[in-house]
Symmetry: C2
Subunit: 253 residues, 2 copies
DNA sequence: CGCTGGACTACTGTCTACAAAAGGCAGGCG
DNA sequence: CGCCTGCCTTTTGTAGACAGTAGTCCAGCG
């Protein structure tokens, strides 16, 4: 008779705090907070004593981070935090935007009550965070809101890709020395979410697609230098186009 | 003096045959070949002696397969080959198609010589495989050709997602008892790749986008039952729409 | 003074072993 | 006869240790 306990309650626990999951979360936070910057080596032994876990769970965690695109593993060399070139920025932002468009096209017509409710909750959180003095929660809740918009489609695979891209984007924001500016922009950007929410409630598909286009770029454009190395032909063209559109939009304000 | 060996040649070996990679490949082949069917449990101990590797590399391999969407891990229950519902089919095929559209839109205008060359190679392989009696290589090379089309965009993240979706699609094809029919369709479908290739050479963006739309569906529609369980509202609507479009297209032939 | 060869260091890849938890099965009791 | 409970088996999660390889640094020679 060790413990009768409650054999049924364990069923509800969807997250038995496995060391791997904990390690993954801690590692992800380190990257997102900028403690680990792109290009930094990720040494297993160092991390194990730093996080207080053994190597196997840490390796699992690194696998997760790799899947999320935050670190890359080189076969016999070890792992590094994913280096970010302008081309990567191009990939992340352009794909992210495309996915938002797809999600809206697929999800808005459905108007699932449950998913709409989740979106409203995310919106409420966002507004609450915008009121707070600290700005860190603004970034987090803003990303959560966008994720909830994509979630309207009820498309798991689409959501997974979007989640990864969002994480990579946050890593980029943490990386850059102009991150503070980015956060401020995010706060100002939060005000733009209200009209978006109204379009959702109205079921205005076209309006949402239009609003979402170039919505994230504005925030993000400030976080990088365009004279950095690692440009590809398409990324160079893309940056030029975005900047021009941005200037145009500024004139209209 | 153990071995002077050739310390320089090892540099060129990009793939030191790590046990994990080997295990991943073997496991993937098992799933794609239908030896492991969706819903089957993936027992670690059984697989280790079957593949002749130890548990750690096998776990790494399972992580890779999970990332590819071929298996799912339930925390304290073990792993199973990803079960496929009609809703999953909807997700896979619809997203795959969207990505092809994006890739063409981004990639065709660039006309990178190197990527075009890769595509031509894939096309040559496909034509060669279509001549052979065995049909297995037709499926493989057909998927490779489509991947090369997506590769035109030079968008790594887009390609990765596409690769995953293709693998899941192949798993579905292996799963179904009407797989033989699907393969035959793929062979007939191979003939349709020639006009697509010509559109690429001509740089006809609109034409490609139009040709790619509903291109894969035809092949794939045969591989599933529409009366299966696991439908969602959107998947049901999607199936209905696709079937109608398909019938329409048949009439035009 | 520069280059090349070798040895060293430190990291990753792999394996064996242990502990804990969940599910299945059998036996007993109501 | 059915249900509940306790044990057992199976399987995963975790830990620590070992070997192999790649990169680096130093010393010796040209």
């Amino acid at each position: 008779m060790t413990e009768p306990d409650h054999p049924s309650v364990a069923r509800r626990i969807s997250a038995p705090p496995s060391m791997s999951a904990l390690a993954a979360e801690a590692l992800r936070d380190m990257v997102l907070a900028g403690d680990l910057r792109p290009g930094d080596r990720v040494i297993e032994n160092r991390l194990t004593e730093q996080l207080g876990v053994s190597r196997p769970p840490l390796r699992e965690a690194m696998r997760v981070l790799e899947q999320e695109g935050l670190i890359v593993q080189v076969p016999r060399k070890g792992a590094v935090v994913a280096p970010i070139t302008p081309h990567d920025i191009y990939e992340i932002v352009s794909l992210r935007e495309e996915i938002e468009q797809i999600a809206v096209r697929l999800g808005v017509p459905v108007r699932s009550r449950e998913r709409l409710e989740r979106l409203r909750l995310a919106f409420a959180n966002l507004e609450a965070a915008a009121e707070e003095p600290g700005a860190s929660r603004v970034v987090e809740t803003s990303f959560a809101f966008h994720l909830a918009v994509v979630g309207l489609a009820g498309h798991k695979r689409l959501e997974d890709v979007y989640r990864s891209l969002s994480l990579q984007m946050r890593m980029c924001m943490a990386m850059n020395r102009r991150a503070r500016a980015a956060i401020e922009t995010a706060r100002e950007d939060a005000a733009r979410h209200r009209p978006l929410m109204e379009l959702v409630e109205a079921g205005d598909l076209e309006g949402m697609a239009h609003t979402l286009a170039h919505h994230g770029q504005r925030t993000f454009l400030l976080t990088i230098e365009d004279d950095a190395e690692g440009h590809s032909p398409e990324s160079r063209a893309w940056f030029a186009r975005i900047r021009k559109e941005e200037e145009e939009a500024m004139r209209h304000d």
